[in-house]
């Protein structure tokens, strides 16, 4: 992966394997966000309660959840379409928020599933842990999002 800032925004160059993985993650995410399974802790994290009182929270949710779902749908579709076009990806200034949010949604989903507690990038886990691949994906997503923020600032 290579990232640099240019006059048109940010240029992101992914390796073939990185593009495949990100495509897979985005596709899985799009399917999962549409599932509306509210017993899933990752869904609860992506659609948090705004109030302590459940009545107020439910009222707020009526208006905010469709908007939230629409943003997730739009952001993930934008990333998906960019991945479709090739390994060299041009991210314009108006698209950067969608990329940051969309990558963050993937991190929140994976991080919740892995029950990440402290280290920002997932920390060290033994290679023979069955979740080690997911941990490395989580770490890679953090690195990608962190790099986008670094070149943008």
């Amino acid at each position: 992966m290579k990232i640099k800032k240019d006059s048109a925004g940010i240029k992101l160059e992914l390796l073939e394997g990185e593009r495949d993985i990100l495509t897979q993650l985005i596709d899985d995410f799009r399917e999962f966000v549409m599932s509306e399974d509210n017993t899933d802790p990752a869904v609860a994290r992506l659609f948090p309660s705004a109030y302590k009182e459940s009545e107020e929270s439910a009222e707020f949710r009526k208006y905010s959840e469709p908007a939230l779902r629409e943003t997730k749908e739009r952001d993930s579709a934008l990333i998906r379409a960019a991945l479709e076009r090739g390994n060299a990806i041009q991210i314009s200034d108006s698209e950067i928020d969608s990329w940051l949010r969309g990558l963050n949604d993937l991190r929140l989903t994976l991080g919740t599933r892995l029950e990440v507690t402290g280290d920002e990038y997932g920390g060290e886990i033994p290679d023979d842990d069955p979740r080690s691949f997911l941990y490395s994906l989580y770490g890679w997503l953090g690195w990608l999002q962190g790099s986008l923020l670094e070149v943008e600032f």
Binding site: A50, S64, L68, V116, G118, E120, Q145, E152, F153
Partner: protein, 96 residues
């Protein structure tokens, strides 16, 4: 006397509306969101400077939460929805 109490009661109601206690947005610490990302979200959603956004982010990080904005309920609800869009864990509570 009953007439007088009616007259007195009405301005009181108006005062309550005008002086309603404002609502606070609290952002809670979570182990997933990157620190630079949280800073960037405060800058984007509230238009705060980088310095102020970093200070609030550090408050969230060190104290577990931070009061990041105060205002009328409708405006604060709108901002909370935007924070949720960015994946921050934000809640609303009325000032005490």
């Amino acid at each position: 006397m009953s007439n007088l109490s009616t007259i007195v009661a009405e301005p009181e109601l108006d005062l309550q509306v005008g002086l309603a206690k404002p609502w606070n947005i609290i952002v809670w610490n979570d182990p997933i969101n990157l620190m630079t990302y949280v800073t960037r979200v405060f800058m984007t959603v509230f238009g705060y400077s980088k310095e102020k956004s970093e200070r609030l982010m550090m408050e969230v990080h060190n104290d577990g939460k931070s009061l990041v904005a105060t205002g009328a309920r409708e405006a604060m609800e709108h901002s909370v929805t935007r924070l949720h869009e960015f994946g921050l864990w934000a809640t609303l509570e009325q000032s005490s």
